[in-house]
């Protein structure tokens, strides 16, 4: 304590010496610009700061100089929010020394209480990590005195350690938590997460996260119901299931992007007849089949209300539905017709996508999270994306869709507001823009000039815009009950090995679901 006091006094002295004396000089120099810059597409402040001042963290100096210049000359822009700059704005770049002075002044003047914000996230992939690092550094620059202590965990590791960490007094302030009954709902039930509803209103988050997506992060306060109630998490990127396809192969086979399911199946037949693997598939891990089946289910049972009720355990619905049986039968039919990679039951997920990204197979059904990896392959520029089409062209059909895991706040964290501000930053336009560059689809619509037309990113963002516009977010079926993941992966492997009938498959899942509903009622 004594040391802290001494340090404060020293800092105060420093503030007085350096903070007060240069101030009058600054006031004069503030209006003098070393250079003027017109904002171009794909510009942001720290990038400009890096270019002209040699330091991305020097952007507050540009903000200050531009605002000072705007007071005297209206041709300069007024920057209210450093996160948002518009194309065509005129910015004032101060001389390097003046910028240094401004930064030094700010750094000392702001409350330097040395707050450390600990954030646990699961962005293990290199490009994702860089995106977060950039955002973290910019957040720190905008909040002098705040240091972000980032801890990266794998998905499984986070799952296993989150509960203990969030109950601890020195646990993470912000943690990325998986949605669903076993994770977020259980944590809410244990009273470990902060209700974000006040921040939802304060920061206008409804513009960032569409209502059906917000529902996935919503839990009734006592954990009794899921999909409604208070909001507990915010997720920055969208993930949805669709068909990646090889444009070159489509062109040479004379196949167009299908708009109906019949056209889709005709395309599969065309490729099969030509000796090409129609759909690249590897299901050794079990879970990829959940997505394949989920999309077929959405084709034959496109009732969004039914699906929502089923997933959130409302209205006592059953899995034993004609559409669900038809979807299972279709999956078996595709296996029998040889539409999938040979021996797919013995091939792992991470063994199959590299083959597709290097030119094997015509199509690949999986989630958009893999896009950045696909873009590393030798056929990267040939890869396009479309959504599994409905039975009739233009008909409504849910798409298996969701978000990345969600940022949450530890209830016992002393830095609630700062943590919320951090989450808001992770949901900002700037963050969305960076995610787009990293090859992931941002959860909020981005009007960006940086998307090149006819690229994979363009296809995917267009698909996401369509899903947002029609509010047709389907679900990952394994969320239905805590045991559903194990049940459905095992049952789908049996179904695809033709060891059980579609009816038996549906009954096995219904058995699991009914047991869960009965348990819930008690």
């Amino acid at each position: 304590m004594k040391k802290l006091k001494q340090l404060t006094i020293v800092l105060l002295l420093l503030a007085v010496t350096f903070g007060l004396i240069p101030a009058p000089i600054m006031a004069q120099e503030g209006a003098a610009c070393d250079a003027d810059v017109i904002v171009q597409g794909d510009d942001w402040l720290s990038k400009i700061a890096d270019k002209f001042l040699g330091d991305p963290l020097a952007f507050p100096a540009i903000v200050e100089a531009t605002n000072a210049a705007a007071a005297a000359d209206e041709s300069y822009a007024q920057i209210d929010n450093p996160d948002i700059i518009e194309i065509g704005w005129k910015l004032c770049i101060p001389a390097a020394e003046a910028a240094q002075a401004t930064l030094g002044e700010n750094a000392v003047a702001a409350p330097t209480d040395g707050t450390v914000l600990t954030v646990w996230d699961i962005w293990t992939r290199g490009v994702d990590g860089q995106t977060i690092e950039t955002l973290d550094r910019e957040f720190e620059a905008a909040h002098p005195g705040v240091t972000i202590n980032r801890v990266v965990k794998s998905f499984d590791d986070m799952k296993a350690t989150a509960q203990l960490a969030l109950s601890s007094d020195d646990g993470p302030d912000v943690a990325q938590i998986n949605q669903g009954l076993s994770d977020m709902v259980a944590l809410v039930q244990a009273g470990l997460l902060t209700d974000l509803t006040p921040y939802w209103q304060k920061y206008n988050w409804s513009e960032r996260l569409a209502a059906p997506l917000a529902a996935r992060n919503s839990v009734v306060g006592d954990g009794s119901a899921y999909g409604q109630g208070n909001i507990y998490g915010m997720a920055p990127t969208a993930e949805f299931i669709g068909v990646f396809y090889n444009k070159e192969k489509f062109a040479s086979a004379g196949v167009e992007v299908p708009t109906t399911f019949a056209e889709f199946e005709a395309a599969l037949e065309t490729f099969k007849a030509a000796g090409e693997t129609p759909i690249m598939y590897g299901n050794l891990d079990g879970w990829p089949a959940i997505h394949t089946y989920g999309e077929l289910q959405n084709v034959y049972n496109p009732d969004q209300t039914y699906l929502d009720n089923f997933i959130y355990g409302r209205g006592d619905v059953s899995f034993d539905q004609p559409g669900n049986v038809e979807a299972a039968a279709k999956l078996q039919e595709w296996v029998e017709k040889g539409y999938f990679t040979q021996d797919f039951n013995g091939i792992g997920y991470d063994d199959i996508w590299p083959l597709f990204s290097n030119g094997e197979g015509a199509m690949y059904i999986t989630g958009t999270w893999i896009s950045a990896n696909l873009l590393e392959g030798s056929s990267a520029d040939q890869i396009g994306f479309f959504l599994v089409p409905p039975l009739e062209a233009g008909a409504a059909k849910p798409i298996v869709a969701g978000t990345s895991t969600a940022y949450t706040i530890r209830k016992s964290s002393p830095n609630q507001d700062l943590a919320a501000e951090y989450i808001d930053w992770m949901m900002s336009d700037r963050a969305m823009e960076l995610w787009l560059e990293a090859g992931l689809v941002p959860v909020a619509p981005v009007e960006s000039a940086s998307i090149e037309p006819d690229t994979l990113m363009a296809d995917m963002t267009q698909a996401w815009d369509q899903i947002l516009a029609t509010n047709s977010m389907g679900h990952y079926l394994d969320w239905a009950t805590p045991t559903f993941y194990d049940t459905i992966t095992a049952s789908l492997q049996e179904l695809q090995a033709l060891r059980i009938t579609p009816e038996e498959f549906v009954q096995q899942l219904q058995q699991d679901y009914a047991a869960y509903l009965a348990e819930k009622q008690q």
């Binding site: 040979q342 993941y485 049952s491 492997q493 049996e494």
Partner: protein
Amino acid sequence: MLNTPKARSRGYKPGERPWTACLYILPGFIIYAVFVLWPILDTLRYSFYEWSGFSSPSFIGLDNYIKLYSDEIFRKALVNNLWFIVFYTVFPIVIGLFLTALMTRRRLPGMTLFRTGLFMPYVMAMVVVGVVWRWIYNPATGPLNQALRAVGLDALARPWLGDFDLALPAVGVVGTWVQFGFCMVLFIAGVQRIDEMLYDAAKLDGANEWRQFWHITLPGLRNEISVAMVTTLIAALRIFDLVFVTTRGGPGNETMVVALHIYRNAFAINRVGYAAAIAVVLTIVIVIISVGVLALRQKWVED
């Protein structure tokens, strides 16, 4: 003066407890108690509770055990564990004995190289072994199917780890590959204790290699075989890492094992109390089998 009473008094009379000796054991015992005994007792306690790992546990008596009785996946897992005994215990001991017989009765060139090479898999981390074999078994790009196709045995190429009938043997073979080196090294060491004169005598009596092995080597290795049995049996019953890395219990539940079932319940679906009950049952099974083997050994040694 005749005896040395002073020195005697520092010793202990028969039946007297050397309490000071306990002091020396104490530090080790404390560590053992905190990190082994306490968790075991705690697991036993939790097996009588319903506990998600989050909220406060509620006592439900024997309900977890009753539920376990009708848990089909648990039953399947237990049967699979018994199958793994064949691959983890029976095959490695048989192969180990065969290799021992080969290596000890004749001087072969490069013996050390063979021994080291065959022992290597046992030294490797199971996760690494699992990843390597997953690659070997990969039906699309793995060397096993490619080799089969290269020599025209296309009909034998299979989706090994994804095949309902072959997945368990495929994983089991990996277990055999890991364990036999350990058995072999144990047996080779044991053979060196056997008196060479026995073999000479047997040879004089006209016993062939096979009879020498059956009547001298095998009985001489009783101790080593029982040690190998206990360790490999325990390894087979608590197998987790290999299955987790290669198949995660699939396809269906064909390679599901008890330890994986415990892991899923405790860490994936937050049924810690139930997982504790499974763990208790698994521990009891392991203890019964181990005691059985040790009793067998006792009888064998006395004969």
